[in-house]
């Protein structure tokens, strides 16, 4: 931001905008010649010209202007050139023989306003040639003439115009005219030399004492004028000083010795110094950074114009103000006079900028923190995920191992029960029977008791067998999957009254123990589900080989799996312990589980690749050994 000082044109001369001169003339021709210059110049500047003259002078002027090449008809058409009859105009201004201020203002004011408007610039200056005052004077009406001059002067307070009054020198003949003449001249801002002034014609002597009067009047007018100008200058200077003094911005001047010559109130207020403690001191004393002050001065001495020079100034109370400085030097030739320095306080703005920057930094810091936190969280989550994966994998492995261990344990317990306890019971039963036989002849009572005991042992044995069979299918080891499935299905039908069709291949060899038990358990689990959930009265089990896979299908004709449970099976892959158990069981064999269900029933399909090494043992080979 710059220091936008638009100083008004305080020192421009009023002469350019207003003048009231008096022209004395001896011959009409020389008057018309001077008048031609006056009007020609006005029209040439694009301004308006108003002529209040005698018919003869108007005719001669028109001729003169045409001779000069001025386009009078266009200017007249435009309204920029107005020529009025002096006598007629005077009659409109006078009231009972004296100039009437109201009539004058109305009549002359109207003429001037219209001429000015015709130029297109309502503030333009109008040049007026007037003989109406001269006419009054010639008629000996000195007082009225002076009054009229005064009315013109009053009009100049509100309107801008150059007025030239013409007086014939014939009106000033005797010594009695001297005083009124000087009075008349004093009403003007300029007394022009008498025309013609050519020395060949006879010089000043020709006009007798009037020449001295004119020169005296001119001198007095000049003196008065200069005094007026001087007063105006002083007034304007004080206005200017006042303006600078009361400017919102700080202003100061620094001399060639770097001492502060002058500072305005705003600057003193900004820095908190009374003038006495500030003026006369080195300007650099107030800079926080001496380097800045040095740079400032060096550049000024190189006649550089500094604009938005950024500096920090120290106040009397120690506070620091951030400022932008606009400064240049006033030079007279090679001599540096003083600086012209304008100081703009931007402390508040800088503070706001700093606060904004801090807020931005804080925001960035928090964003960075949050980002780091999120990254850390992500890291943690991914680690936890990994751990969970590992745990899951571990759990799956554990689960598979548990299933395997469970199968093994059941098999072991079943064997222990069957081969150990079962055999002992069988032996006990045989012994009791043998004893009963021997005792039959000797002691019928004992024989009866032994028979009863043998019956009890037989019952215990049957219970034990059932328990053992449930723990591990009895025929799986001895006869293989097919027999075991037949045994299980028969028992299932007997218990549940669900008819099960078992479709097994004719020549199905032995599978590995693990796979046979897995298939058996899958059938067991599926039939349990059919019984518990399907409501079906029938079921079909098919086991067949299809392109290197063992395919096991368990189908029921029940009500199907509910849709919500079905969608969980589709999305998550499992639902309920039963299906999960099946999936776990077949996982080790790279098997796949497929569940299809609708209102007509459910089909569970398990597909297990058959690999010669691990999955299939030929029963004949084993039997031959």
């Amino acid at each position: 931001m710059g220091l936008g000082y638009a100083l008004p044109d305080l020192l421009s001369s009023d002469d350019e905008r207003h003048s009231h001169s008096v022209q004395l003339y001896s011959e009409d021709a020389s008057l018309v010649d001077a008048l031609g210059d006056f009007v020609d110049a006005a029209l040439d500047r694009g301004e308006a010209a108003v002529v209040l003259a005698t018919p003869q002078h108007r005719r001669e002027l028109t001729r003169e202007l045409i001779t000069r090449g001025v386009d009078i008809s266009t200017a007249t058409q435009q309204g920029r050139f107005v020529a009025l009859d002096a006598a007629q105009t005077l009659s409109l201004v006078l009231l009972e023989g004296r100039p009437d201020p109201a009539r004058f203002a109305s009549c002359i004011g109207d003429v001037l306003a219209r001429a000015r408007m015709a130029t297109g610039n309502p503030l333009s200056t109008v040049s007026i040639f007037g003989e109406i005052v001269g006419m009054l004077w010639t008629a000996g009406k000195f007082e009225a003439a002076l009054q009229l001059e005064q009315l013109w002067n009053e009009l100049s307070a509100t309107q801008s115009f150059h007025l030239r009054c013409a007086y014939p020198i014939g009106a000033f003949t005797g010594s009695e005219h001297e005083a009124p003449f000087l009075k008349m001249c004093a009403e003007h801002s300029r007394v022009l030399p008498i025309v013609p002034i050519s020395p060949e014609i006879g010089g000043d002597e020709r006009f007798g004492p009037l020449t001295q009067w004119q020169q005296k009047a001119a001198l007095e007018v000049e003196i008065t004028s200069r005094k007026t100008v001087e007063r105006a200058l002083k007034h304007r200077e004080s206005e200017l000083v006042d303006l600078l003094e009361n400017a919102v911005e700080g202003v100061q001047r620094t001399g060639p010795d770097q001492r502060i010559l002058w500072a305005n109130k705003a600057l003193l207020r900004l820095l908190g110094y009374p003038a006495a403690e500030y003026l006369g001191r080195c300007f650099a004393d107030f800079y926080v950074d001496p380097g800045e002050a040095g740079d400032f001065w060096t550049r000024l001495m190189h006649r550089e114009e500094l604009y938005d020079f950024s500096a920090s100034l120290r106040c009397k109370d120690g506070a620091v103000k951030d400022v932008l400085i606009h400064s240049n030097g006033l030079w007279e030739g090679d001599r540096f006079v003083h600086t012209r320095t304008f100081i703009h306080d931007v402390t508040e703005r800088k503070q706001m900028e700093r606060a904004l920057q801090q807020a931005r930094d804080e925001l960035e810091r928090r964003v960075a923190e949050r980002t780091a936190e999120l990254r850390e969280k992500n890291e943690q989550i991914s680690q936890q995920w990994e751990k969970l994966d590992q745990t899951n994998a571990g759990l799956r492995e554990l689960s598979a191992r548990l299933l395997h261990a469970q199968d093994e344990e059941r098999r072991r317990i079943a064997r222990d029960l069957h081969d150990g306890t079962g055999q002992s019971l069988a032996l006990l039963c045989m012994n009791l029977s043998a004893m009963q036989r021997e005792a039959q002849g000797l002691n019928p009572k004992l024989a009866q008791g032994l028979t009863e005991n043998a019956t009890i042992v037989r019952q215990v044995s049957a219970e034990l067998r059932t328990l053992s069979y449930l723990l591990h299918p009895p025929l799986l080891d001895e006869m293989g999957l097919s027999s075991a499935l037949h045994w299980f299905v028969d028992g299932f039908t007997e218990r549940t009254k669900i008819r099960v069709a078992l479709e097994l291949p004719e020549s199905w060899g032995r599978l590995s123990d693990d796979l046979e038990i897995a298939v058996f358990r899958v059938v067991q689990e599926c039939l349990t589900n059919v019984h518990r959930h399907s409501g079906s009265a029938t079921a079909t089990i098919r086991l067949y080989e299809y392109s290197g896979n063992a395919v096991l299908e368990i189908r029921d004709q029940g009500k199907g799996i509910p849709p919500e449970k079905m969608s969980r099976i589709s999305s998550v892959g499992v639902a309920g312990v039963g299906l999960r158990g099946i999936r776990e069981r077949i996982k080790d064999f790279n098997g796949a589980l497929e569940v299809t269900s609708n209102g007509d029933g459910t089909t569970i399909r398990v597909v297990i690749p058959l690999t010669p090494a691990s999955s299939r043992l030929q029963v004949s080979a084993a039997a031959a050994g």
Partner: protein
């Protein structure tokens, strides 16, 4: 299958091979068999493999096999024996009483099936039946 009553007409010196992995059971079976005049236990085996070997070596008149035995089970042993000795009567004496097992034994060509619980009452009957070219299976099979 109907239980056929065994006749008393049997040749003397019936040589029997008994296979069971449990010695105490084996002894009890042997005692039961030898309680019958003319029955002689010519060999004992503790597993299926041994039973097959002894059947080949001893050429017994009757072979009694347990099913659940180490190395080779009784059914496998019976199948093996059938391959080299199609006419020697073979009896299964087992803890198991499942229909499938009995059917399987029947399919292999075993001549009779007795559960151990009924051994004392039915083993001799069964032995006599199979020795007379009859079969002996539990009534509901």
């Amino acid at each position: 299958m109907a239980l056929l009553f065994a006749s008393a007409v049997l040749r003397d010196n019936v040589r029997i091979l008994v296979a069971d992995d449990q010695e105490s059971v084996r002894k009890r079976v042997c005692a039961t068999l030898t309680s019958r005049a003319g029955f002689e236990v010519c060999g004992e085996a503790a597993n299926g493999k041994e039973a097959v070997e002894k059947a080949k070596a001893l050429q017994p008149d009757l072979i009694i096999l347990d099913i659940t035995m180490p190395l080779m089970n009784g059914l496998e042993a019976a199948r093996a024996i059938r391959s080299f000795s199609p006419s020697t009567p073979v009896l299964i004496l087992s803890m198991h009483n499942s229909k499938q097992l009995i059917e399987e034994a029947h399919r292999i060509g075993v001549d009779g099936y007795v559960t151990k619980e009924d051994a004392v009452q039915k083993l001799l009957q069964a032995a006599e039946a199979v020795l007379q070219d009859q079969t002996f299976f539990p009534p509901d099979t």
